[in-house]
């Protein structure tokens, strides 16, 4: 039996999370197929065919798939599921929206946020905001899984899979897309960034958040992140939130500025390769996970850091 990866893409290209999910799929065993469902998504399907380890790309093209509406996506995946032992989605906002709908329609359980493949039916996943790790075994014939992308390396390029068209399922017409508000930014995407500069409530205002952290992020080519406290206070947009209920990140370098380090925040960033904490409170829990801790006022230390880079 083969493994089907449901790709995350923007019709023109494949999103990074798909590549980590392919790596998890390879570890499940069997051939790896990738489903690209979109509208005028030919370029994304071609990009998927070049992912190393992928033996076939299924391309479904219809207006119903343009915005990834859960009802239409789930109907399509359920129609294809019979040929697969595993259905893998990246654990992104998109994957988390669709995967449980697919699982329920197939009457199988879902394993969320798998970060390690032990065997074809056994996986590891964090629970309680990463305070515990559960090893779980699926007893169902089809395994529906969302993959925590930070647990797996990105698959490389160099594949040459065939692209096969699959028929679109009918538009369920249950929901319709009105529009989106996506902030345009030249910065790397938070979950794909190699360096993240993240700020907490100590920044004090959205102006200071920008004034102090933006120069550092610019200098390092980094993405900007935030703690829940900073987002709650309105200093940073919602989708910058790193933590249990926000983004899970694992960059090479995570610089936490004025973040105390609640367990819910640590859950989102403790797999980073190198963690730097800048905080004036010597007792801040963030220092217990930081490779390099600098006990200092961030309003002095961060500008100094910018000028010394």
């Amino acid at each position: 039996m083969a493994v089907l990866v449901i790709a995350e893409h923007d019709n023109a290209s494949i999103r990074g999370a798909t590549l980590n999910t392919v790596t998890a799929a390879v570890q499940c065993g069997g051939e790896v197929h990738v489903l690209v469902a979109g509208c005028n998504a030919g370029p994304a399907a071609q990009a998927a065919s070049a992912i190393s380890g992928v033996s076939k790309v299924l391309h479904a093209d219809a207006p119903a798939y343009e915005h990834g509406l859960a009802e239409n996506m789930a109907a399509l995946v359920v129609g294809l599921a019979g040929a697969y032992s595993h259905l893998l989605f990246p654990a992104t906002a998109g994957g988390k929206n669709v995967a449980p709908r697919v699982a329920a329609l197939l009457d199988v359980a879902q394993i969320s946020d798998a970060h390690r493949v032990i065997s074809a039916d056994t996986f590891e996943r964090p629970i309680y905001a990463g305070s515990a790790i559960a090893t779980v075994q699926s007893l169902d014939p089809i395994k529906v899984i969302t993959v925590r992308t930070t647990g797996f390396d990105a698959a490389g390029q160099g594949g040459s899979a065939a692209v096969e068209s699959v028929a679109a399922a009918a538009d369920t017409g249950m929901s319709s897309f009105l529009g989106s508000e996506i902030a345009k930014s030249d910065r790397p995407e938070l979950t794909a960034a190699k360096i993240i500069v993240s700020g907490g409530r100590a920044l004090g205002s959205s102006e200071k958040f920008g004034d102090v952290l933006t120069p550092l992020a610019d200098k390092l080519g980094a993405a900007l992140g935030a703690s829940r406290a900073a987002v709650d206070a309105g200093y940073a947009p919602n989708d910058w939130q790193v933590g249990q209920t926000g983004k899970i990140v694992a960059p090479s370098l995570y610089i936490a500025c004025g973040i105390s380090g609640a367990i819910q925040h640590l859950a989102g960033m403790k797999d980073s390769k190198v963690i730097v904490a800048i905080n004036k409170d010597p007792e801040a829990p963030i220092f217990s996970v930081a490779d390099y801790g600098l006990e200092a006022d961030l309003f002095v230390a961060v500008p100094e850091l910018v000028s010394s880079l």
Binding site: I127, M174, L294
Partner: protein
């Protein structure tokens, strides 16, 4: 319009979770339990809809042990009109809960079901989507804002990179994200009033649902500890460490 709000009893947000030495799970003996924070937001939203006149009745539901009655009383103190407990002492996984809720949706015929997007214990983020699938209803997950009008709900959803707006036909399932609202503080008079509100108890068998787990937990372990590193004296020392030791810049 009737609004159904499922709520889960979970370990309190502020409790430090400890893994049992035998690896069978986490220690829940004598720890504070509370309503899942996302479910509190869901209840608050339903009560606000009723206060605005968009909903006529708010029904809270919980699936689990007898003590979930406390969670349901909290939901009624926030403003739910009545409650249903599906009492079951065995482990309930999201698919089983979704099936129990589907049976209650068939019975109660709500116009809207609002759930928290995920529970902070198992962090699954599944039940709302599964319920929508089983009940044949559309879904608006990770809601940041909802507006009801003319038989539709407009849902502003939190997605990677920003927000998106969907128009969804009612009846529908909505799951609450963190910033849908800020739940009110429960007042003592409302806690007293909640004690008198009706609470019905049913069993999974009454609803004809098989709740056998489909996922077996083999073991639960502590996560690998990340040791604290070193404190550096100043910015120059930090830059030197990052360049020469960690080699990340």
């Amino acid at each position: 319009m009737k609004v159904l709000v499922p709520v889960k009893r979970v370990i309190d947000y502020n409790v430090k979770v400890r893994v049992k030495p035998d690896g069978s799970g986490v220690d829940l003996a004598n720890v504070k339990m509370s309503m899942n924070p996302f479910d509190e937001i869901a209840i608050e939203e339903a009560v606000r809809l009723k206060e605005k006149g968009a909903a006529t009745e708010v029904v809270a539901v919980s699936c689990g042990v007898a003590q979930c009655q406390e969670t349901l009383r909290t939901a009624m103190a926030i403003g739910a009109d009545r409650a249903i407990l599906v009492e079951c002492a065995d482990e309930l996984q999201p698919l089983a809960v979704a099936k129990l809720l589907k049976a209650l949706v068939d019975k109660e015929q709500p116009g809207l079901i609002i759930l928290g997007k995920q529970a902070i214990d198992d962090d699954c983020n599944q039940t709302g989507q599964m319920l929508a699938a089983l009940a044949g209803l559309p879904q608006g997950t990770f809601a940041n804002k909802i507006e009801i009008a003319d038989g539709f709900v407009k849902v502003t959803r939190e997605i990677d990179g920003g927000l998106e707006n969907l128009r969804i036909k009612l009846p529908a399932v909505v799951t609450a994200d963190l910033r849908l609202n800020e739940p009110r503080y429960v007042t003592l008079p409302n806690i007293m009033k909640a004690k008198k509100k009706p609470l019905e108890v049913v069993k999974p068998a009454d609803l004809g649902v098989d709740v056998t787990p489909r996922i077996k937990t083999i073991k639960v372990t502590e996560p690998p500890k990340r040791g604290a590193g070193v404190k550096v004296a100043d910015v120059a020392a930090l830059v030197a460490k990052l360049k020469n030791e960690a080699k990340v810049i």
